[in-house]
């Protein structure tokens, strides 16, 4: 990977917007390597002005992360409160199993 810091943040924002969990997981691993300064570092030596550009990109990423959290909490709450239509299947955390089975049409 050869991304500058701002590009990396923009990429994370795009991936989060489309809920691309796999890409985000890749980026998380890359970021860990970056933070360790380890064997797979992302080229992130900051050029003059890059920190402020990256900070601006972080602002957007933060906003998208905020709405994602709000959406996640909303969907989770929705599932919790829809007891009539949905029922909890024990032994499978965060798995909500529709009472109707779809009969193969889903």
């Amino acid at each position: 990977m050869n991304l500058r810091l701002k590009e990396l943040i923009d990429e994370a924002t795009r991936a989060l917007s489309r809920l691309d969990a796999e890409r985000l997981a890749e980026l998380a691993l890359s970021c860990e390597a970056l933070n360790r300064g380890g064997e797979q570092p992302i080229e992130c030596s900051l050029k003059p002005g890059e920190a402020s550009q990256a900070a601006s990109a972080m602002g957007v990423f933060s906003r998208v992360l905020g709405v994602t959290r709000a959406n996640f909490e909303f969907i989770a709450r929705l599932n919790r409160t829809e007891g009539e239509r949905l029922e909890y299947r024990p032994g499978s955390e965060r798995r909500w199993n529709p009472r109707w089975n779809g009969h193969g049409n889903n």
Binding site: L5, L8, I9, A12, T13, A15, L16, S17, R18, L19, D20, A21, L24, A25, L27, A28, C31, E32, L34, N35, C44, L46, A51, A54, A55, S56, M58, G59, V60, F61, S62, R63, V64, L65, G66, V67, T68, R69, A70, N71, F72, F74, I75, A76, L78, N79, E82, R94, R95, W96, N97, P98, W100, G102, H103, G104, N105, N106
Partner: protein, 472 residues
């Protein structure tokens, strides 16, 4: 016989039920690519058990129709997010057009077209050149002052004209949405009647899909609230509560002109401000038209008024080459009020001899008044700020607003995409099931949080390093 008949009936009923269910499946598959179609699931009802030789046996199930898999709460949230997303993306486009009217300061001593920041520097520099030349009577240097004044006035009045033109086009776009809004509210009212007559107690299937489609389109145009009423009816109001649809009736948005701009009404109530705050494309257009453009115009007016007034005032206190002492005349057109000052800014002095470079009662070779006019560049004459700083702050503030709305627009668009994914998983014909869609949302959020936390640490370190470097 009764036993065999009963067994046959159970079997026959089961086959019929299966066939009905298969029809529902076939309908789902056939509509897989129909926009707004909501997946249906067969509804089953257990038949009354039969008694055979004193024992009770189940008699199977009958398919009693189909029910659309929809979640009105999720639909409503999606529509609310669509309203916000449409509003911010529309406003962002207008802000980008506005920002293009104010190119960043080139930093050059010669003004580029439209570069008001450089124009201000050049204008006050021209007085410095005149004052410091040692020959304040020099005609070429005096001509340079008028030329720089003309460039400054031209760029400010052009920017004002650009803002007015932008405001007019936003107004036109906003009023053009009214017929679409009225068409959709009329359609929703019509669907209300059909739904209430055909399915007062249950899901109305494709009719409900159509109504949700119309609501979704309406949400992209204006901010609305929806209220479910009896017998599967639906009332729709503006975000501020003005009724647009009630049962089978719709209430049109109407328009009227006031001060050259369109006002919006429901009945006799002026809902313009409420629509601006409500969201949707119309909200975005109106926010840009009634808030962003006037704010920019107001700043530009203040700059034009104060620069013109201060320069004219000083010119009228000095002595010009014609010997006018204290009445050399105005360099710029003197606006009567702040409002409209930018649009009317122009140079009214034709003869450079009337530039009063000399001080009051001084000989024409004196330069003290030219020095005073050059010094305006460093004085807080525009709302307590120097002209250049005032303009730089205005441009910077505009840039911040654009960045803020850009971030908001990105976030809102992301939110719509995410909720659409959840809705599709639930109610569209899709192989993903609801649980996996939610898990995708959760996994993405968790991974993104991890990315954010690490990057935040990296950014904090980088910025701290920057501060330490600056201090050392």
């Amino acid at each position: 016989m009764g036993t065999i008949n009963s067994a046959f009936q159970i079997m026959s009923g089961a086959l019929e039920a299966d066939q009905s269910a298969l029809n529902v499946v076939a309908n789902n598959v056939a509509n897989a690519n129909t926009t707004g179609y909501t997946r249906e699931i067969p509804a089953w009802q257990e038949n009354t058990p039969v008694e055979i030789n004193g024992s009770s046996y189940g008699s199977g199930a009958t398919e009693t129709g189909s029910t659309s898999v929809r979640d009105r709460v999720l639909d409503q949230r999606l529509q609310q997010q669509q309203q916000s997303a449409s509003s911010s993306s529309t406003r962002l486009a207008a802000l980008n057009s506005m920002q293009a009217l104010f190119p960043p300061d080139s930093g050059s001593s010669s003004s580029a077209a439209g570069d008001i920041g450089s124009d201000l520097t050049s204008f006050f520099d021209s007085f410095s050149s005149l004052a410091n030349s040692g020959e304040p009577t020099n005609d070429a240097l005096r001509q340079d002052v008028l030329s720089a004044a003309s460039t400054l006035a031209g760029d400010i009045s052009n920017a004002a004209a650009g803002l007015s033109s932008l405001q007019s086009s936003l107004d036109e776009e906003a009023s053009g949405l009214v017929s679409q809004v009225n068409g959709l509210t009329g359609s929703i009212a019509q669907l209300n009647m059909e739904i209430q007559s055909s399915s007062p107690n249950g899901d109305a299937g494709t009719l409900e899909d159509q109504r949700q489609q119309d609501l979704s389109q309406l949400s992209q145009l204006i901010g609305v609230n929806q209220i479910t009423t009896e017998n599967n009816g639906l009332s729709v109001t503006t975000a501020s509560g003005q009724l647009l649809v009630s049962e089978g009736s719709s209430f049109d948005l109407t328009t009227g002109l006031a001060g050259g701009l369109t006002r919006f009404f429901v009945g006799t109530t002026d809902v313009t401000q409420a629509l601006a705050e409500g969201g949707g494309e119309l909200g975005g257009y109106l926010t840009a038209r009634d808030q962003d453009v006037p704010n920019a115009m107001s700043s530009l007016d203040q700059l034009a008024y104060d620069v013109s007034t201060q320069v004219n005032s000083l010119n009228n206190t000095g002595t010009d080459l014609a010997g006018d002492n204290g009445g050399a005349g105005d360099i710029f057109y003197q606006p009567a009020a702040v409002a409209g000052a930018a649009a009317s800014m122009s140079v009214v002095m034709n003869d450079p001899d009337h530039i009063a470079a000399a001080g009051a009662n001084a000989a024409t070779g004196d330069n003290s008044n030219a020095v005073s006019m050059a010094n305006l560049a460093g004085q807080g004459v525009v709302n307590g700020k120097t002209p250049s700083n005032y303009f730089a702050q205005f441009v910077s503030q505009l840039g911040s607003t654009v960045s803020e709305v850009q971030a908001e627009s990105t976030a809102q668009a992301a939110s719509v995409t995410q909720l659409q994914t959840q809705r599709d998983a639930l109610s569209a014909v899709n192989l993903n099931d609801e649980a996996s869609a939610m898990q995708q949302l959760e996994s993405s959020y968790q991974a993104a949080s991890q990315v954010f936390n690490i990057l935040n640490t990296v950014m904090t370190s980088a910025l701290n390093l920057g501060v330490e470097t600056a201090v050392s």
